[in-house]
Subunit: 211 residues, 2 copies
DNA sequence: TCATCATCATACCGGTCGGTCTGAAACCTG
DNA sequence: CAGGTTTCAGACCGACCGGTATGATGATGA
């Protein structure tokens, strides 16, 4: 559910060799440009210009553009694991934690000026049918999101926050779909309120059940 | 909510000049390749090879790749208007008609082998931030979908099929989000059941209210 | 201090890109 | 039938693409 927040945490700044710092800088820049402009619309030259790193250097650290793409996706996988742990460890009822995740991600969409959207979603639609290796890695991020959501929704069901007939796995898929689709509408309409609409409607329906 | 069904209707086969037939053939081929491979990953050469039309000819009918892109988006706009009219004119309660739209589109996803996804969604994520003209046209398709859904959801609310507190416009946005996000998951996971999960979860929550 | 390794830089490569230019062929109308 | 228009074909263009080869520089350790 990320919107490409770039933390120093992953790009560990302590105890790194000079080469490692260069590698992380390439990775960070590639990540940003793939996110904002798309993988196929981002050239190696673009990355060089933005990062101020020379081509021989880039190719020393990453043997190809494709390998760089894999590394970018891997960085999302690692970062998502950490983010999900933090969000889901917070106090509150299961549904409160679900909505908190949505709300914190929604705020970031707004801060981002409705640009970029979700990097995983962007990669998913652009590359799924043309690069099976990328598709598998993207799936692992979606699986991580859906699995964690499913766990929370099971708790919510046990707590009576959801109708007994609800399938938590299916609902987790639907919630990820709401997020990704909502991000798409926000990005295309340039209107951050749309994600508010989506989340509010979802809550409204879920909570109408409990009324 | 289309999944790139190519009808003969738009590509009018009667009463056309030879040049017009060539133009439609270019358009149809470009549409298919932009849909399956993305706009930036589709070259003019790809279109020439697939359509068996020569470059001078293509550039006679479309002055640039960008103009071809516009024409492709315009063809979706026209086709969507017709499809929505047919689907929403069918008999049944408002919510039945909503679910029928989802189900017919879902079947097509399955028939397509979970490839391609939604052409509008693909364009939206790939091009929204790098081509404002394309973004505006894509928005008109989303607006058409959301407006029609909103109308149906107003009827559903009046008929007692939805909680009184529901905002039809917001719910329409959420439903389009469910569709686009679901298509993304189907395309990435290559599992057509996921859209079934999304729709079932949506129905389950809506119908739990009425129980 | 020197050798080795890691890191960095730049010229160059073949291929592909979107697009242009020029001319040929087909069609249509007077 | 001829002239004009529409449609078509293909060679060529400059720019850009991902990547390689070669060599220079900096860092490290014996």
């Amino acid at each position: 559910m990320i919107t490409n927040r770039l933390t120093g945490q992953f790009f560990g700044e302590a105890m790194s060799s000079k080469g490692e710092l260069t590698k992380q800088k390439v990775l960070k820049t590639a990540r940003e440009l793939f996110y904002l402009n798309g993988y196929n619309n981002t050239s190696i030259e673009d990355i060089l210009k933005t990062s101020k790193i020379k081509k021989g250097n880039l190719y020393f650290h990453f043997s190809s553009k494709e390998k760089l793409g894999y590394a970018v996706l891997e960085s999302y996988l690692i970062e998502e694991a950490q983010l999900l742990d933090r969000i889901f460890a917070a106090p509150g009822s299961p549904m409160e934690r679900v909505y908190r995740l949505f709300d914190s991600s929604r705020k970031h969409l707004r801060e981002q000026g409705c640009r970029g959207g979700c990097p995983i979603g962007n990669f998913a639609l652009e590359m799924s049918d043309i690069h099976n290796g990328f598709r598998k890695k993207i799936n692992r991020v979606f699986d991580a999101w859906c699995d964690r959501l499913e766990k929370l929704l099971r708790e919510a069901k046990r707590a009576g926050e959801l109708p007994p007939s609800i399938n938590p796995k299916a609902l987790a898929n639907m919630m990820v779909a709401v997020w990704e689709g909502g991000v798409m509408l926000v990005k295309t309409r340039k209107d951050p309120r749309i994600m508010g609409d989506c989340i509010k409607s979802l809550r409204g329906i879920v909570e109408a059940y409990r009324a």
